[in-house]
């Protein structure tokens, strides 16, 4: 039983060292590895806290599954969202997909209709061109 208490103290020591490492890392410029190493250190800290402090080491299976599920589902959210943002810069329609599309010149000259009213905003201020400029 004493040994468990000892492992708690040792874990705290390891966490402190990792904290020092992550701070030290921020003073050297090894981009883009600063980000990835920083996250790796944070993950190592998380695993230590979960494994020893939160007793995951001696937990039943369902508890470990619950712990993993939160992270897995968070990764679903991040990966699928990034699937959008990282591919936005790509060419919207590859050239060879367009072969059969007929170009209609008159489409280029359609003037957008001028709005006759101004869109009200929550602040009561009407939209003007400066709003467009800041986009």
């Amino acid at each position: 039983m004493r040994s468990h208490q000892l492992s708690i103290y040792l874990t705290f020591l390891a966490l402190t060292l990792l904290l020092a490492a992550t701070i030290g890392l921020s003073f050297v410029d090894i981009r883009p590895w600063n980000l990835w190493l920083g996250l790796a250190i944070a993950t190592a800290k998380m695993l230590l806290i979960a494994w020893v402090f939160m007793n995951l080491a001696h937990s039943i299976g369902p508890v470990r599954v619950a712990a993993a599920a939160g992270l897995l589902w968070l990764s679903f959210a991040i990966v699928c969202t990034l699937a959008d943002y990282t591919t936005r810069g790509w060419g919207e329609t590859p050239e060879h997909w367009l072969r059969q599309t007929e170009h209609v010149e008159s489409y280029d000259r359609v003037e957008p209709p001028q709005p006759e009213f101004q869109i009200p905003t929550a602040s009561g201020r009407a939209l003007d061109d400066s709003d467009l400029g800041s986009l």
């Binding site: 039983m1 103290y9 921020s26 402090f53 939160m54 599920a69 943002y85």
Partner: protein, 224 residues
């Protein structure tokens, strides 16, 4: 141990062990929920850091790295104390020695560490608001020529900073109330060990809030 606690088993359960594992498992499921609660904000962080890396560098340089590091250390220390308390009070632990004193001392220390964390954090908020780093009409930034949108994307960094650390601070407040309340309850209790289940559950919550900060610290204070 199981026999000693049998008088306190709730209706749905057959044994104290079953009740304890339900409490622990339930808390872990709740923590998975909490991961996703912060998760929405982490998704936002990832997207905007991907879009505006320079703005995050500019913003991060405005934060006090050492104060953030000290806050991390306070939380880690508190977590260690809570882990020891949970170990001392667990039903499987050696129960010959009196445990009220050691447990209460550590819980009070954790509460104080938590309050110190919040004090440092609110001090930093105060400084940032004074310097005009709070998003909104008053936001201003001196040197912004190099950043996209004339530096307004730095405002995005600070919006995320205040939302995420603010949500974390809210969780800290709850944690401080729970741990402090636990210290009072154990201090008054005739049989501190009968509070082992709530203590474990509150401990798990405290560690979780700690883990969130472990990620927030490098993501906001240590951006290169």
């Amino acid at each position: 141990m199981a026999n000693e606690m049998s008088s306190e088993i709730a209706i749905p359960y057959d044994s104290a062990d079953q009740q304890r594992s339900a409490a622990t498992f339930g808390m872990w499921v709740f923590l998975a929920t909490e991961v996703l609660f912060f998760g929405g904000l982490f998704v936002g962080y990832v997207v905007y850091r991907y879009e505006y890396p320079e703005a995050f560098r500019t913003g991060s340089a405005e934060l006090n790295l050492w104060s953030g590091g000290a806050m991390t250390l306070l939380l880690l220390l508190g977590s260690m104390l809570v882990a020891v308390v949970d170990h001392l009070i667990a039903p499987s632990a050696d129960n010959r020695s009196s445990l009220r004193g050691p447990v209460v001392r550590r819980l009070v220390a954790t509460t104080v560490l938590g309050i110190a964390f919040l004090a440092l954090e609110f001090h930093e908020y105060h400084q940032l608001i004074q310097d005009g780093r709070f998003p909104g009409h008053a936001f201003r930034l001196s040197d912004v020529s190099s950043d996209p949108l004339d530096g307004r994307s730095v405002e995005m960094f600070f919006t995320l900073f205040f939302c995420m650390t603010g949500l974390h601070a809210f969780h800290m407040c709850l944690g401080i109330l729970l741990v402090g309340g636990m210290a009072v309850a154990i201090g008054r209790s005739e049989q501190p060990r009968s509070l082992a289940n709530p203590m474990s559950v509150i401990g798990l919550y405290w560690h979780f809030v700690d883990i969130i900060w472990v990620f927030l610290y490098p993501l906001f204070y240590l951006v290169r």
